[in-house]
Subunit: 221 residues, 2 copies
């Protein structure tokens, strides 16, 4: 019990603005994702921190701005992941499948992010609207899709008449639903959509679906 790990601090007080800010963000992310915006308690967030509630208001201004900051960081993470996307060397079919699988993986690995997005939608995306960063964050994935799609459509491989945004929506919806709605779906239909044993099955299914859609022979009426 008596500390050994602790660095020699005169009073237990350490000053590290960046660390304190980051720690608040970490804890707040979990708490907001766990309980929703209104369900989250700033006292609770503060208590799970090395510091006090005062610091939340000092660094972020209030609960609302804290949530916005949480969102900004969470979106920043996917943006980074998307930027490391490297599929342009593949043929269009393989590239799209790979992109879909990366989206699938990212959703699965970041359930907190999915919950935050659900929560933000309940609140009409008002925090995104209020954020300067999030408005112009863009989407590297969208650019990648655009290029793959163009290449595939030009070569005649892709017959579907979709643009990048709609295809992105299609892929996202599948990945998002699986994580976001796993509780109600599981409770109602008795199937765990995120069971590890079914993971590969659903990952393949997504790729099959998207490729089938893009390459299907269409009636020329």
């Amino acid at each position: 019990m008596t500390s050994v790990e602790e660095p020699a601090r005169p009073n237990g007080r350490i000053r590290d603005a960046a660390r304190t800010r980051a720690e608040i963000l970490d804890v707040a992310t979990h708490e907001f994702a766990r309980a929703g915006y209104d369900g989250a308690r700033v006292d609770e967030i503060a208590a799970s921190t090395r510091t006090t509630k005062r610091m939340i208001y000092y660094y972020f201004g209030g609960k609302e701005q804290l949530f916005t900051a949480v969102l900004e960081r969470a979106y920043g993470v996917i943006r980074e992941a998307e930027q490391s996307l490297d599929v342009e060397h593949l043929d269009p079919v393989a590239a799209i499948r790979r992109l879909a699988e990366l989206t699938f993986d990212h959703h699965e690995q970041h359930p907190d992010f999915i919950r935050l997005v659900s929560i933000e939608n309940i609140h009409g995306a008002e925090h995104i609207a209020a954020s300067e960063k999030l408005g112009k964050i863009g989407s590297p994935a969208l650019d990648v899709i655009r290029r793959i799609l163009e290449s595939g459509q030009k070569s005649g491989l892709f017959t579907a008449d979709v643009d990048a945004v709609d295809l992105h929506a299609m892929i996202s919806s599948y990945c998002f639903f699986r994580v976001a709605n796993r509780h109600t779906f599981g409770a109602l239909f008795g199937r765990d959509l995120v069971a590890p044993a079914r993971r590969e099955h659903y990952r393949t299914m997504l790729g099959d679906m998207v490729i089938a859609y893009l390459t299907a022979e269409r009636a020329t009426d």
Copy 2:
């Protein structure tokens, strides 16, 4: 302003248990869907009602049970809609497309329901678990899908190796995402997924996607 519509009531007090209960449920549905479980205020719900807060506790017992009752009724509505599903006379391809379109329409027409499901997922589907009704509500849609799928697979028309639950998840995810995530998606990508002008486009896209997936030629490796 001075009432003319009002029926002659001695004191403004009318007794109608069923009506009062139903009105509370209506208002609560809106309020919960609007603000989330924790964001909703039972005082607010009561105020939007002809009656008082006391009645909410009289009829439902508490906020938690009220939310459960709201969910039960909302799920009851889709269940009814699904029961009127009549596609068995169509060939498998047309039947699946019709089913997908009905799902699409239902999601679009009941945004409050979609929000309630999102909210319930944030809370780990604990209210569904606590409800006796919801556990065994079943899904007529699932039975329909099962039959269509069997028929299509037997005839060799459908090549995909899916079961009804997974196909239902696929269709639902598309329909759900479009409505549930329209705010963040719109804010981030500048595209309104529920714009009336794009409605037909997305409806067709869903059918194309599902049919393409089910009927695609698959590598036999």
